[in-house]
């Protein structure tokens, strides 16, 4: 297994420790967030370090090579790539549809008094809708330039 896998794990653990220290030694409203970030960095960091030592053991190396080869095949498999592209496109269209519907729903909920200050949500959703469309166009144009 690559050494970089271990070093990334160590970096994550160090980041996690920094977040813990920040949460312990500072008293502010984002304590919960800091603990969450600490857990989010420590968990994968420790997992990476354990995985590195487990898969680097001589008895596990052959099995690791097989898993890596299969993962590499699955990653570059053309049918998988096609399905990933298709599913991404479907998810993109569903996302756009949900945002459009949410705009109407939140407007109605705001107007009927169920939600107060609905304009922030509606404006946010509108911004997200514009962002998603623009991001899709930019990604398409960038990909198009490659071919």
């Amino acid at each position: 297994m690559k050494k970089s896998y271990l070093s990334k794990g160590i970096v994550l653990v160090m980041i996690g420790i920094c977040f813990i220290l920040a949460a312990v030694f500072t008293e502010n409203v984002i304590d919960g967030l800091l603990w969450g970030l600490a857990g989010g960095a420590l968990g994968p960091g420790i997992a990476r370090i354990i995985q590195y030592f487990y898969w680097s053991a001589p008895k596990n190396q052959e099995r690791y090579r097989e898993i890596q080869e299969q993962q590499d095949i699955n990653l570059h498999d053309e049918l998988n790539e096609k399905l990933r592209d298709k599913s991404g496109r479907i998810a993109y269209h569903i996302g756009l549809l949900i945002i459009c519907i949410s705009e109407v729903v939140f407007s109605l909920l705001g107007k009927t008094g169920v939600i107060t200050d609905h304009r922030v949500i509606v404006l946010y959703l509108f911004g997200l809708l514009v962002f998603q469309i623009v991001a899709g166009i930019i990604a398409y144009n960038l990909l198009r330039k490659r071919y």
Binding site: I73, L79, N80
Partner: protein, 74 residues
Amino acid sequence: MENRVEKLRKERGLNQEEFAKAIRVSRQTVSSIETGKYNPSLDLAFTIADFFGKTIEEIFIHKGGAGDEKELSE
């Protein structure tokens, strides 16, 4: 498009898993090609043809193509 991949694979005594590994695709891809649910890219078609030591035309039959019409008229 029809193909003779399954037949050629079995002639070689390979299962889908072994064949998939040899041409570096997933077993699902081999299965989908054999059942005609998926037509491989030109690149993969060449890889398969090379593996069996045949030309693409000997393995993949494009139904409705110009070559097919010629074949029918002969």
